[in-house]
Amino acid sequence: MRGPPVTEAARDVILDVEGVSLAFGGVRALTDVSFSVRRGSITAVIGPNGAGKTSLFNTISGFYRPRSGNIAFDGRSLAGTAPPERARLGLARTFQNIALFRGMTVLDNIKLGRHAHMRTGLLDALVYRGRARREELELRAEIEERIIDFLEIQHIRNAPVATLPYGLRKRVELARALVMRPRLLMLDEPVAGMNREETEDMARFILDVKEEWDVTILMVEHDMGMVMDISDHVVVLNFGQVIAEGGPAAVQADPAVVAAYLGAGDLGRRLSGPEAA
C-alpha cells in the first residue's frame, strides 16, 4: 500500500514509536504515543513535569513494558527484547538523576559501558590471556584517546565518581554511554541543574557527538533555550499524549503547546515570546 517515498522515509527512521500506551494501575502514564526519530537528528521530547517523558524513555529502554503499541529500532521491533539486548543493539542512555556506579573510579565506570560488547568470558580471562588482554588494551586505548580527551575529563579519570561535582558526573555518564558505541543515544535531562557555562559545554558536546560520532540523539530536556538551539525536531508531551511535533520554531508557535505550558509558569512565556539570542 505504501509507495516508494514512504519506504525511503522509513529507511531514514532509526526509532519508530507507534501507538505506545503505558499504565501503572489506574494511572495512564502514556496514551497512544507515536513519533519517529530520524537518523542523524537531534530530537527533543519536551513537556511539563509529569507529562510522561521519563516514562517514555524507560519504555524505550525496556524497563517498562507498554500496555499496547510497538517500538521499532532500526526497522526491528523491540517487543520482548530485554534491556541488555537493547544495549547490544546500540541503544544507550543517561539518567535524569545520574546513575553512576558509586565506589568506582571514573575510568572503571566508563569501561563498564563496554560490558555488553565484551566477548571475553571468565575462562578466557584465566586461560586465553591473549584475547582478554587484547580486548582490554583496545578498550583502554579507545577510551583514553577518544572519549576521555573528547569530553575533557583527563584530570579526573582516576577519581572516585562520588567525589565529583554534579556537572562532571553528567559528563562521565555521557562518556559511559559513548563507550557503548550507541547508534541512538538517549539523554534524560542532560543539562538539568547546570549553570549557563556548564550547559553551553554540554550542548557543544551533544552537537559534537552527533557530528563526529554519527550518533542519533533523543533527549528529554527542560532548558528551552538549549532545546530550541540544538534540536532538529521537537516532540511535545502533555499528560502522556503527544500534543505537537515539528521543527523548534513551528512547535514554539503551536497554540496547543503554549496552552499546555501556560500553567507551568514562565516556560509558556519563554516559548511564545521572542527567542533569546
Binding site: S61, P83, F101, A116
Partner: protein
Amino acid sequence: MTDWLFLTEVFLAGLGSGALYAVTGVAFVLIYKATRVVNLAIGEILMLGGYAFFGAAAGWHLPAWVALPVAILAGALVGAVVERGLIRPMLGESPISVFMVTIGLGSILAGFVQIVWGADPLRLPEFLPSAPIFIGEAYVAPKVAYGFLAAMVVVTAFVLGLRFSRGGVALKATAADQAAAYSVGIDVPRVFSLSWIVACGVAAGAGVLVGAIGGISPTMGVFGLSVLVVVIVGGLDSMAGALVGGLFIGVVEAFAGTFLGGEYRFLVTFSILILILMVRPYGLFGTHEIERL
C-alpha cells in the same frame, strides 16, 4: 609454656569454626550485594546441605566425593527455586517484607528436614582423613583443619572472582546501581538468579563441613545467627568483612566457650554485635549508606 600451647589450640579451633562462619558469611554477602535481600534462611540452607549429604551418603550409599557435589547442587537448586518463586515476585516490596519471607522460608526448611529425617541429631558418615594434625606442638582436630582449608579456598576464590571476572564486575555494578547496570547491558535478573544459586550452593557445601564436625540436626540453622553477627560486624556488603568478621567471631567464641563456659558464647558474640552497631552501624568494612535493619 603449657598455657601458651593451650591458648594456641583454642585459637586454632576458633579459626577453624571461624572459617566456616566466613564462608557462610560470604554466601550471605553475595545475596545481599546483588539483591539487597537479607537472607535469614542462610542457616537453614546450610542445614539442608548437611542433610542432603547425609541422604546421599548414608541413604543412597554414594561415596563422599559424589555426595558432596549432590549436596551443593541441592543447595543451588533450592536457591534457584527460592529466588524465582519467592524473592523475584517480592521485587519492589519493602525490605522488611522480603526479610520476613526469608524467616518463613527458614521455618519451612527446618520443618521439612524434620519430617523427612526426624528430629534427632544425626552423625554424617566419616569422609575426612582422621590422622591427627599438629601445627608446631599444637593439636588441631583433623576435621576442623580440613574444614578450615576448604573454607579458605572457597572464600579466596570468591574474593578473586569478584575482583577479576566479568561476572564479579557485573555484580558490583548491579550492587551500585541497578538501572545503570541494566542500561549498559548487564542482565540484572540473571545476576539476581546466579547470586542466589551460587550462594545457596556454597552454604549447602558449608553445611556438609559443619555437619562433619558437629553432626546435623533440625536446629542446626542457629548457625545462621552467628553468621548474621559475622556479616553485621564485617559489613553486609563486604566479602573481606565476612572473612575477617568470621575468623574474629570464631576465635572470640572459642575463647568465650573455653574460659566462660559454652552458655556464655552467645552472650559475648551478641555483646560484640551491639557494640559494633553502636560504633559502626555499617560494619567494619561495609558501605556507609547501607540501610538499617
